[in-house]
Amino acid sequence: MSVNEEETISLIVDGASFEVSLEAEMPLLWVLRDELGILGPKYGCGIAQCGACTVLIDGDAVRSCQVAAGDVWGPVTTIAALGLDGADHPLQTAWIKHQVAQCGYCQSGQILQAAALLEKDTSPTDSAIDAAMSSNLCRCGTYPRIRAAIHDAARSLRES
């Protein structure tokens, strides 16, 4: 199939099924924002340098600007569907408690990257948090609040 030929792609995004006709090479971020109108994932750099476009695919944090629509291998979760059974995810609660966001542009990516971390490790150390979050950039410099909020959310998950 040539690069510019459109095909029908089936996607599950935030629990809903979609069929879209587009070039399979189109980055998932473009599909989400321009085709499906899901605006949580943000365009930052387009080359996997900033993390603003982070979503979960089958639970793994990935940069949606780097995933071709035709390569999506599982259900996509954006910030809009992160909550648990209609309630906020502990990370979202902690984010509000610590007033993490400043301009907020990177925050949906930060929260989803942190969600992938807490899925694997509910007692992350500072260094584990730094390692997992090291490629999600925040130009406002909210890193100390991000780290504190992740610790808080981890505590909530352990106690729940």
Binding site: V3, E25, G46, I47, A48, Q49, T54, D60, A61, V62, R63, Q66, V67, A68, G70, D71, Q113, A128, D130, A131, A132, M133, S134, S135
Partner: protein, 211 residues
């Protein structure tokens, strides 16, 4: 040293490889010289090794053939000295980033061409560092040569296994294949994929001599 005869297995594998190489790959495989079927001397093997080493010591390979610190390298422009991968990335003992930030977060698994300059490259195999036993950074030609022929460090491969390793990579559009066609603004490894395959077959047929 008495000349060695090229193994029939090796010739058969190479013949299949050349025949099955896709049209796209053919455009990026460099030299199109026929595989020699005459007896292979040690001198021919050492000549082939020199070309293999030129590939193995290129940043397209060494940037992920790093040591036990598990820190991949970056090379921004051709000729630049490699430096630590940005974002403080450490692939961990798992060598795939499982302990912290997965390589796959940015480096997708996809056989599609790499087209965007400076974007995270992808291959048809899950992105990962080479085993630390196969560290090539800071190693001499002789050291890398001895690594490659040592089954205890090369994944238990014999001579044919080393050639098949490249063939398997070609089928999967893996890291070796990508190194010769990295896309974007990245400098490819020297010589071309088919030439590299032929050099590996020659070197192994010659008894894997090291300088």
């Amino acid at each position: 040293m008495k000349p060695k005869k090229v193994s029939s297995v090796c010739i058969a594998v190479l013949a299949c490889a050349v025949a099955s190489t896709s049209a796209e790959e053919k455009g990026n495989t460099g030299s199109d010289t026929a595989f020699p079927t005459e007896r292979v001397t040690q001198e021919m093997g050492l000549t082939a090794w020199a070309k293999i080493h030129a590939v193995a010591s290129h940043p397209r390979c060494t940037n992920c053939h790093v040591g036990a610190d598990n820190v991949p390298l970056w090379t921004r422009n051709p000729g630049d000295p490699p430096r630590a991968h940005g974002m403080a990335v450490n692939a961990g003992e798992s060598r795939i980033g499982a302990e912290g930030l997965s390589c796959r977060t940015c480096h997708q698994t996809s056989k599609r061409p790499n087209q965007v300059s400076n974007a995270a490259p992808h291959t048809g195999m899950h992105w990962q560092l080479a085993p630390k036993e196969m560290q090539w950074t800071g190693k001499s030609s002789t050291e890398i040569c001895k690594q490659l022929r040592d089954p205890d460090r090369n994944g238990g491969r014999d001579a044919d296994g080393l050639v098949e390793h490249i063939l398997d990579d070609m089928k999967e559009t893996g890291f070796i294949t990508w190194a010769f066609n990295p896309g974007g603004n990245r400098e490819p490894a020297p010589g071309g994929l088919r030439a590299h395959l032929q050099d590996m077959a020659l070197w192994t047929a010659a008894g894997m001599p090291c300088p």
